[in-house]
Amino acid sequence: GDKAEKKANKDEYKFGLIMVGPHNDHGWSQAHYEGGEYVEKHIPGTKMIYIDKVNPADRPGVTIPQIVDDMVEKGAKFIIANSDDMSDGTLEAAKQHPDVSFIHISGDHALTGKAPKNLGNLMGKMEYGKMMAGYTAALTSKTGKIGFLGPLLNDETRRLASAAYLGAKYAWEEVLKKDPKDLKFEVIWIGFWFNIPGVTADPTQVTQNFYNKGCDVVISGIDTTEATIVADQERKKGKKVWAVPYDYKGACKGTASSCLGVPYFNWGPSYVKNIKAAMAGNLKSEWVWAGPDWKDINNEDTSAVGFEAGAALSAENKKQLDQFIVELGSGKLNLFKGPLNYQDGSVFLKKGEVASDKQIWYMKQLLKGMIGQSSTK
């Protein structure tokens, strides 16, 4: 029996998934984990090896090259590293294992030309999801005060926070026709993708602080679900507050009373595409930024990002949201269109100018009108 098993193992195509957070975090890492499961289901003969919580706080002393070595020993031919944090390590490991294919999520080595042939990048166009998040938040908000629970500061997070702001601004000014001055959109950064006690600011406290300050919607930009949990607690105390979680389709589960909806990643289809290419031996070192399937952004076989409306979203606002999605999809509406200024007043997009992918990707500051740190000066 043992031998047969080994033989069967030999025929398997193993791919390794390295996750920064717990695979059951109801957030970023779980979305990847389920993407991996999707691959196992849709490409027969593939098998996922995974390790989660790969970050220096949870696994002190453990490095990406080390894990990759181990996964390769276990037979992995394809490695996915799911955090921006793993950028240097993945590059190092890819150079050490030229015959193994690597995908670094959210990175840009393939874009900057640093990447060896066996390393590609993949990311979803979450700015659309975040626009929807901002849009629903502003539609729902009574006070016009919206908090954005930011992770760490970099191009990606600035991009996503700005996108959420643009969505909110659009809803506030164009849909609700309210005074632009009454919309207050504040970002607070905790310092990492999730809470590391003593190292990052505590997201629970940051969220509570938002609500205490009069925000009634908090948009989460972090990998874990503190925002919705706090929103739920506050609701039980009788406060009318909402939250928008992030990353994972099932993030609203259990906190229905406060959850307006969740912008999420659907990694499965992109993974399948990449792994199939790798199996056929023609995976290229590419920088891929996969967008939603505008026909049905929640189609699990085609759309890379989606927005799952939550139970707390009113029927009326849901209708508005659907309209908004249609407009975005048709290209009729482009929120990254000038005039837009950076926070310090310098010009981001001139009047009428439409941002290129690269401009959006390398977002150097928050946008004018947002409150919060743009960069750490």
Binding site: P56, P60, G61, D69, D70, L153, D155, F192
Partner: protein
């Protein structure tokens, strides 16, 4: 007569060790079973994870290095009866000073020289940090445990401030660390095991130096004397204060060296958790090694195996790798327990003997 005595101690040592191991084995097996995983498979995976391949064993060595360095440092402070819990912070400050050297020494300086300066800087940084706790202890009367603990948190804040503030990556503020060092500043490594010969040589040298200092120099003897009875120090013209500070300098120096080693040899940058808890773990190591210079590296090796091997647990069995910490803790606790029972038994026997003579 002495020979018989020695034989006895060896046998009883073996007896103690097996008794301790048995306790721990039963305890961990129970814990793993409770968690719903097969215990023997877990053990097997840990062993394979540590010895399964060159690169895995190389990884073990990578953990062994800082652990052993910190243990060497702690041997000095334990010798003089100080509980240097601040070792963690000392390692952090070593890393910070080392990183500062890398950052501010111009790139025109030869890499080898830069690395050397960084090591010296790290050693100094750790020592300075240890001295703070030492001064608080000797001149301020603040217990070294609380002083050290406090200094750990202060060090943690400093490293965070640097990483989120002045030393952040361009446009980024993340706990993932500073910009990477340029490759020439990495410690070069053997290809297969990916371990650095420099690091190994330094570590082995540290063990030998520590053993030599503690065994053959007046410093070692003085530390032991003051540690055993501070009240008598004046008879031998020993200054307890100076010796305590000296021990702290040694401890901090070795810890600082370990910190710099993590920067140039492992992470190639500064990260907030650069000390990886190795300082705290080294306290375990030294306790378990019964404060013996030769046993400490072996225990450190064993602990490193547990640490590295346990990464297999989540990958293969989907259980948490913190099992290694549980085993380590249980080992130290069981050792302390067995020790106590032995002294109690011995005392009881003496008591009974003296009764019998009445």
């Amino acid at each position: 007569m002495t020979i018989i005595k020695e034989e006895n101690t060896t046998i009883s040592l073996l007896k103690d060790i097996s008794l301790t191991a048995l306790f721990v084995f039963i305890f961990t097996t129970l814990i793993i079973t409770i968690s719903g995983a097969p215990p023997f498979e877990a053990y097997e995976n840990i062993i394979r994870g540590a010895f399964g391949s060159y690169s895995k064993f190389g990884q073990v060595i990578k953990v062994w290095i800082p652990l052993t360095l910190c243990s060497c440092g702690l041997l000095y402070t334990f010798k003089i009866n100080l509980w240097n819990i601040g070792i963690e912070g000392q390692m952090i400050m070593g890393a910070v000073f080392g990183m500062a050297a890398f950052k501010y020494i111009p790139g025109t300086c030869p890499a080898a020289l830069t690395i050397l300066i960084a090591f010296i800087a790290g050693l100094t940084g750790g020592a300075i940090w240890a001295l703070f706790a030492g001064f608080l202890k000797t001149f301020g009367g603040v217990n070294e445990i609380f002083a050290g603990l406090g200094m750990n948190f202060v060090a943690q804040s400093i490293i965070l401030w640097l990483i989120f503030g002045p030393w952040k990556r361009e446009g980024i503020a993340s706990m993932s660390g500073t910009e990477q060092l340029s490759e020439p500043l990495w410690l070069s490594t053997f290809t297969k095991m990916r371990i650095s010969p420099t690091a190994i040589v330094l570590t082995v040298a540290s063990i030998l130096i520590t053993a030599f200092i503690l065994k053959y120099t007046k410093v070692g003897l003085g530390l032991k004397a003051i540690g055993s009875n501070m009240q008598s120090a004046f008879m031998y013209k020993l200054k307890p204060t100076s010796y305590m500070l000296l021990a702290m300098i040694f401890a901090g120096g070795f810890a600082g060296l370990a910190g710099t080693m993590q920067v140039t040899g492992v992470y190639h940058r500064l990260i907030p958790t650069i000390s990886s808890n190795y300082g705290y773990l080294a306290l375990f190591v030294v306790m378990l090694a019964n404060y013996n210079v030769w046993a400490a590296p072996l225990v450190a090796l064993f602990f490193a195996c547990l640490n590295v091997g346990s990464i297999q647990l989540p990958m293969v069995l989907q259980i948490d790798s913190s099992l290694s910490g549980v085993i380590q803790g249980a080992l130290v606790l069981a050792t302390l327990g067995v020790q106590s029972f032995k002294t109690m038994k011995k005392k009881r026997r003496e008591y009974n003997n003296s009764n019998g003579r009445v």
